[in-house]
């Protein structure tokens, strides 16, 4: 692992008027590391993720990101142009609902190629070859390249969304319940795929999920949130096998055993 973290978050808080979104969240994320944020609905997971991905501006706190030139920059001091550039080159965001992250009315190939074109690739043949390569990497048949995502199943859409995000070789990917709404066998294949990709590409990822099994499979470390605060953090295996906080114990013991 690298000597310096990729992301340094310090005292991040977000209030919606008098209501709490998340309070005083601090952590570091290292290159190639997968961090899961777990907790029940309304615990502030998504607020935190949206603050990190700069979709929301936090009320207090800083999040410093190590840019490709090695310099740390506070995300909330970046200009909008810089933030958006980061978003479509060095970062990815996988939405729970693929329709939020895909262009449903253009073909799968164009969905994957959009980021390439956005950073200036103007060679059709090359864009198409890259799109074909990525479709096969996410296990979508190559002859579906000209179909619109509307014609895809939920699992395929989610895999397409992942391909679309990874095509520019990002270093950091945010995921919001990436397996939500998929049936279990499709979930299992998607998790396999994600694990493989994260491993191969050395991606760092922040994954928000309420599904502890997903967190167990994908993440190295996890943070448990309750009422906007991080109440417990540590290695995933440690937190799940030996939860210290009563709430975490409740969460872990609530997993349905089949």
């Amino acid at each position: 692992m690298s000597a310096e973290p990729l992301l340094r978050v310090d005292g991040l808080s977000k209030f919606y008027g008098g209501r709490i979104g998340c309070v005083d969240v601090s952590f570091e994320l290292w290159p190639g590391e997968v961090l899961a944020i777990v907790g029940e609905s309304g615990s502030g997971k998504t607020t935190l993720l949206n603050c990190l991905s700069t979709a929301l501006e936090p009320s207090f706190g800083r999040a410093e990101y190590r840019m490709r030139d090695g310099a740390f920059r506070n995300l909330y001091d970046l200009s909008e142009a810089e933030r958006r550039f980061l978003m479509r080159t060095d970062w990815g965001f996988v939405h729970q609902n693929p329709a939020d992250g895909l262009r449903m009315t253009v073909s799968a190939g164009a969905n994957v190629g959009e980021r390439l074109m956005a950073v200036g690739d103007r060679h059709y043949g090359r864009i198409r070859a890259t799109a074909l390569d990525w479709l096969s990497r996410v296990e979508i048949a190559q002859d579906r390249i000209d179909d619109e995502p509307r014609a895809f199943s939920g699992g395929m859409r989610q895999r397409l969304q992942i391909a679309r995000n990874l095509v520019t070789n990002p270093r950091l990917v945010f995921m919001d319940e990436p397996t939500g709404g998929l049936d279990v066998s499709v979930q299992a294949r998607l998790l396999d795929l994600l694990r493989g990709l994260v491993e191969d590409l050395g991606l760092a990822a922040v994954i928000v999920t309420h599904d502890l099994a997903v967190a167990r499979l994908l993440s190295h470390r996890m943070m448990v949130m309750k009422d906007g605060r991080v109440i417990e953090a540590g290695l995933t295996d440690r937190v799940l096998d030996d939860p210290r906080e009563p709430y975490t114990q409740l969460l872990v013991s609530s997993i349905l055993q089949v």
Binding site: R84, V106, A110, G113, H123, I127, D146
Partner: protein, 293 residues
Amino acid sequence: MNAIAHYNFAYLDEQTKRMIRRAILKAIAIPGYQVPFASREMPMPYGWGTGGVQVTASIIGPNDVLKVIDQGADDTTNAVSIRAFFAKVAQVATTTHTGDATIIQTRHRIPEEQLRIGQILVYQVPIPEPLRFLEPRETETRKMHALEEYGLMHVKLYEDIAKHGEIATTYAYPVKVEGRYVMDPSPTPKFDNPKMHMSEALQLFGAGREKRIYAVPPYTEVVSLDFEDHPFEVQTFTEPCALCGAEGVYLDEVVLDDHGGHMFVCSDTDHCEDRRAHGHRGRLGADPLEAAS
């Protein structure tokens, strides 16, 4: 008493014309940028050229000579009406000859005859936003223009090639103006795109319903977007104009009978008439005097 005396010169009141001229000046200063303006109700429906008419009304003077074309033709309903409108409310001279006109209001074509310094081409624009069909939110498209995020425009061209094997967009083909703003050249055929590049004439675009004005000043770089391996190409025609025999011009197909008979003729009627007056003849272009007898 003459009822027309109640109208101000060129129909619009002076304050409105000043407002529109300010928008035009700003548009000229930032080539390709869409300047919002307070579009007025005109005595014609939206979609019939209310934007172009307002621009023309704001720039026209008593000594101007106006030409109006619709699909290249001087004699279509819309062209005739708008020409008559300005003859009435501004008492200006009108013409059908491209070379004689100082202001040419157009829908869908740029005249075949090369425009020169001092002439102004006014386009009637239905949808000024080139990104509209890809991104429906105005707040977002404005941001994309501001940040020069034009990748999406190429997504559309990519889709064309993926579906049709070539860039199938034949009109309203997006261009980049002076290396900065991506602009919709209004629904002119892409055949006319090269004529916009380094044009000697000032080109003004008015969208009445959408309340936008934009401009391409003379001698401005206008480049049609494309891919390295699928370069921009204009339409070509296999046969010359059936009336005047012109080649390398934009042609309309005219159906002649119920048995599949058809001919291709110049879409620019003035250009075609001018050529015939100079003795050029096409396949079906009989001498007008002989045809009449």
